[in-house]
Subunit: 144 residues, 2 copies
DNA sequence: TGCCTTATCGAAAATGGTTTTCAATAACTA
DNA sequence: TAGTTATTGAAAACCATTTTCGATAAGGCA
C-alpha cells in the first residue's frame, strides 16, 4: 500500500532540492529515513521512524531525531499530537489539514478550509491548524 | 485583568460538583491550583502552574501535574501545543475552539464552528480541533 | 465534636524521551 | 584524487514527567 494524498516523487525531489540549497548532504541515512516517511501514511514517533529505517540501512536514533527536526523546521513535515504522543508526518507544503485515525495513526490530508471568512476581532491570526480525529476505513471494520 | 470567555464562578462550581461525584476531596492545594487556572487566560506549563499557586499556598509540583491530568481527563482542561511545548488551559466543557497567542500564550475561546457540513468520505470523524495561532491585541502593540 | 477511614500530599527516586558531545566517517567540491 | 567540512552515532547529559511510599488531612459518621 502506497501513501495517499501526496505526490511522493515530486515531494522527494523538492526536499532534495531544498536540502541542496541549504548545503545539506544527501546521505544514505537520510535517504533511508526519507524513504520510510515517503512510503507511509501514518504519523510516526521518532522511535518508529528509526526502527523502520533500520530494515534497509543502519541508522542511529539520533539521526532520526535530526531529520525530523530539519523537515519540520523547513515545512516538509508536521507534528501531530495523537493520544498524548507527538508524532510526525511528511506533508506537502501547500495549505491543507488532517484527518487523523486515532487507532492506527493514519493521516489523510484534505484541502478544504472554511476558516477564511471568520471574524477574529482584535486578534491577529498568522496560521491555523485543523485536525479531524476519528477512525479510518480499515479501523472501522477491524474494531466494529 | 480577569480571564475572559468563561464564566469562572459557574465553572468552579461545576468542577467542585464533578470532583465530589468522583469521590475526590477538595483540598487546599487543589483550591489554590484551581484558583490560578481560573484567573488566567494563558495556557500554562505544569511548572508555571506550580509556581503561580506557590504564591498563595505551599503546593508540590507533583500535585500540579496531578490536577492537570485529572482536569484534562474529565474534560475541564485542554492541552495545547504552543512553540513545541505542551500547555494546559481550563476550558468550558461546551464545544468551542481557540485563538492562541504564540507570544504570551493567551488563549481566547470562540464558538463558531464551520466543520459540520464537510465531506469526510469513508473516514469516520469523532472529534476535531481547530486552533488559530497569531498575536493577541496586547502583543501586537508591544512588539510591532 | 472527635474518630476513623482513606484519598491526598510531596520529597525523593525512577523513568524515559530528547538533546548534546565529540571523535570517526563519508559527502561534496575543486 | 585530495581536501574540506557536514554528518553520523554511541555514550553521556539533560530534563520533563511519573512512580513510590510514609506522613497528612479531608470529610463522613457516631
Ligand atoms: Mn499533511
Ligand atoms: Mn478552551
Ligand atoms: Zn486507522
Ligand atoms: Zn499575546
Amino acid at each position: 500500500m502506497t501513501a495517499s494524498n501526496r505526490d511522493d516523487e515530486k515531494l522527494k525531489s523538492e526536499i532534495r532540492l531544498r536540502f541542496h540549497q541549504l548545503g545539506q548532504r544527501f546521505t544514505q541515512e537520510r535517504e533511508a529515513l526519507l524513504a520510510v516517511l515517503l512510503t507511509t501514511d501514518r504519523a510516526l514517533t521518532p522511535q518508529e521512524l528509526y526502527e523502520a529505517a533500520q530494515k534497509s540501512e543502519t541508522v542511529g536514533l539520533t539521526t532520526a531525531y535530526r531529520i525530523i527536526e530539519t523537515l519540520t523546521r523547513i515545512g516538509f513535515a508536521q507534528v501531530i499530537l495523537i493520544n498524548g504522543e507527538l508524532r510526525y508526518r511528511l506533508c506537502s507544503p501547500t495549505h491543507h489539514h488532517h484527518m487523523v485515525c486515532t487507532q492506527c495513526q493514519k493521516v489523510e490530508e484534505f484541502a478544504e478550509c472554511q476558516l477564511e471568512g471568520l471574524d477574529y476581532g482584535s486578534f491577529h491570526p498568522t496560521s491555523h491548524r485543523v485536525e479531524i480525529f476519528g477512525l479510518c476505513e480499515q479501523c472501522q471494520k477491524g474494531s466494529s
